[in-house]
């Protein structure tokens, strides 16, 4: 009989093999009877048998024209076509398979499959190309408009920066000078009834100065033209720490960093980012607990497309966690605190610009920032920044 025949039970044991099968495989019948069916299957056929062949046979009671490969005693792979039926008597199921070798047929099939695949591919890529072309054109127009707006906005920022650093400073300076003259005169001639009002003006001028300075810092981040370099986070954080200490005149805290792999970024902006985060932790520390800040990082894959819906490209990002044991706040204000001039605690010394600045720096790097906070426990800022950037950004 020029076809192979075998019988196996549901537990996968060979119960019968015919002479032809043994010849094809190079086994003696005694070497196969009572052995596991796996013995004559290639690894992928075993997986296919378990996931496709046997479930279908069990479900339908038969399968026809299934193709897979046997493995001979010598380890050769033998392509076969299988028809099988299943017979249940009492508790005992018997599965009977008839196998035909398909050396030639397999070749044809492979060819047909290949050409079908390449045809399919060509068709698909043609369709895809057409729709991509349309999309590209739309995107191009869109992009052009965006760039126009962005360029305009950028120029505005430059002007705004100038206004904040010069034009606005001048009237503030003048108010301060004339106020000084008034107050000096009062000092000589005795306080007038208006004295408390003058003092109020003085406080407001100081505040106005601080505000414009913060605003200028905020705006100048946007207009700087610093290039991207590979930075060593740990040394930048060290610098940021010193700046924060200098700005707040507070150094009694612990800062722990663990394994921070390098990323590509604008160095001064990153220093500013961490300076603001550390300042924020200092300003919101608990009174009677020594402040401790921990910074850790883990590399994750994130989709680089933040805005385009349905576009996905996974790239490596550093997920940085900056946690403190400070006062914390109710987590529902997580977005609010990132806003410009938004402050939760009116008593704290900050102007409400620091975290808005952080948000800006992070988005300048195409990253994301969020905060998890628990009142009386502390806050954790989570920043994801791309490890690298495409060359032409």
């Amino acid at each position: 009989m020029p076809c192979a025949c075998l019988v196996f039970g549901d537990e996968g044991t060979l119960e019968f093999v015919n002479t032809y099968l043994c010849e094809v495989l190079g086994y003696e019948p005694a070497e196969l009877i009572g052995q596991r069916l796996d013995r004559i299957l290639t690894l992928s056929s075993r997986l296919f048998y378990q996931t496709h062949f046997f479930p279908l046979l069990r479900l339908n009671g038969k399968v026809s024209e299934i193709f897979f490969s046997l493995r001979s005693k010598a380890g050769e792979s033998i392509p076969v076509m299988v028809n099988a039926t299943r017979d249940i008597r009492g508790d005992k199921a018997t599965n009977l398979c008839i196998l035909t070798t398909v050396w030639e047929r397999q070749k044809y099939e492979t060819e047909i499959l290949e050409s079908k695949k390449s045809l399919q591919k060509a068709l698909e890529s043609n369709d895809q190309l057409k729709s991509l072309q349309t999309k590209l054109e739309e995107n191009q127009q869109d992009l052009d408009r965006q760039i126009t707006i962005l360029t305009q906005r950028n120029q505005e920022y430059v002007q705004l920066n100038k206004v904040l650093s010069h034009d606005l400073q001048e009237p503030i300076r003048k108010i301060a000078i004339y106020l000084d003259i008034v107050l000096n005169a009062e000092r000589t001639n005795g306080n007038s009834a208006l004295h408390p009002h003058f003092l109020r003006i003085q406080t407001s001028v100081t505040r106005l100065r601080a505000l414009t300075q913060c605003l200028q810092e905020f705006v100048s981040v946007e207009t700087s033209e610093e290039s991207l370099i590979t930075i060593d986070l740990e040394s930048l954080i060290e610098k940021a720490k010193n700046k924060a200490i200098e700005a707040t005149d507070f150094a009694d805290f612990e800062l722990e960093t663990t394994e921070l792999p390098p990323i590509e970024a604008h160095a001064t902006q990153i220093i500013l980012l961490f300076t603001e985060l550390i300042k924020n932790a200092i300003q919101n520390r608990k009174e009677h607990v020594r402040l401790s800040i921990a910074i850790r990082s883990v590399t994750v894959s994130e989709n680089t497309y933040q805005f385009s819906k349905d576009k996905y490209r996974y790239m490596d990002y550093s997920r940085l966690e900056i946690s403190d044991n400070g006062k914390g706040f109710d987590n529902q204000y997580g977005t609010y605190v990132m806003g410009l001039f938004n402050k939760l605690d009116p008593e704290s010394v900050g102007m409400g610009v620091g975290l808005a600045l952080c948000k800006k720096i992070v988005s300048n790097h195409y990253g994301a920032i969020s905060v998890n906070s628990l009142k009386d426990i502390g806050s954790t800022f989570i920043i994801t920044l791309p490890v690298g950037h495409p060359v032409n950004l």
Binding site: T42, S44, Q50, P55, E302
Partner: protein, 271 residues
Amino acid sequence: MNVLQRNNVRVLGKGTTPLLFAHGFGCAQQMWRYIWPAFEEHYKIVLFDYVGSGQSDISAYNPERYANLNGYAEDILDICRALDLKDVIFVGHSVSSMVGVLASVKAPDYFQKIIMIGPSARYINDHGYVGGFERSDIEELLTTMERNYIGWANFLGPAIMKNPDVPALSQELTESFCSTDPIIARQFAEVTFLSDNRRDLNKVRHPSLIMQCSDDMVAPSEVGHYLKDHLPESTLVQMEATGHCPHMSAPEETIRLMKQYLQQLTQSVTA
């Protein structure tokens, strides 16, 4: 977009701590039907189908998103966000174990423990690493699937199983498998069997349980030991159950080991 509809999310149970069950490749949430009832008294049970599987919204399938296990991890995180889950005990079968790993590393705050059933960090052998398959085996499998022109799903039963004692599967179950698009199933097969998550293991911050089956050709015991060595705070249990789907073929043992693990952890916390 409604995530709960998209992923066919079902929330059951009387407890508050969520047990989130993530099915394996080629399957759907029905595969957990022997397991979750044992936990419904004390936990919130969350079941779902990945986009492209079971009764999910197939139109939401995006080949770019799901060309990577991270896309499946996004499904998990979307569900956690939509249901506002906290302290999730994640239960993943097979490839879902690594999907859970990725999700837990990206957003640790959602999770508290990871239970892995038949996990593997990589299916293909690599220098000094035993995954159980050669690249050519996987290529042959994908060609065999193609040659028979039956997407994995048109067939696939729950049945990467070896246990002969359990009777045949119900028609209802098979139908849900058949509803999967073969092209999607094919991509899932490729993404699964070519995945390599070894570099992600040491990033995990949550305790994990590795449930290693006996005689599992998809995830051999070497893989279980590799995971144990590289996952911080992990526990490895060797199951008597054979095959790759103990939650289908040996639900009692699976439930017992899961409960044992969850109890131990609770005790060590209170102690």
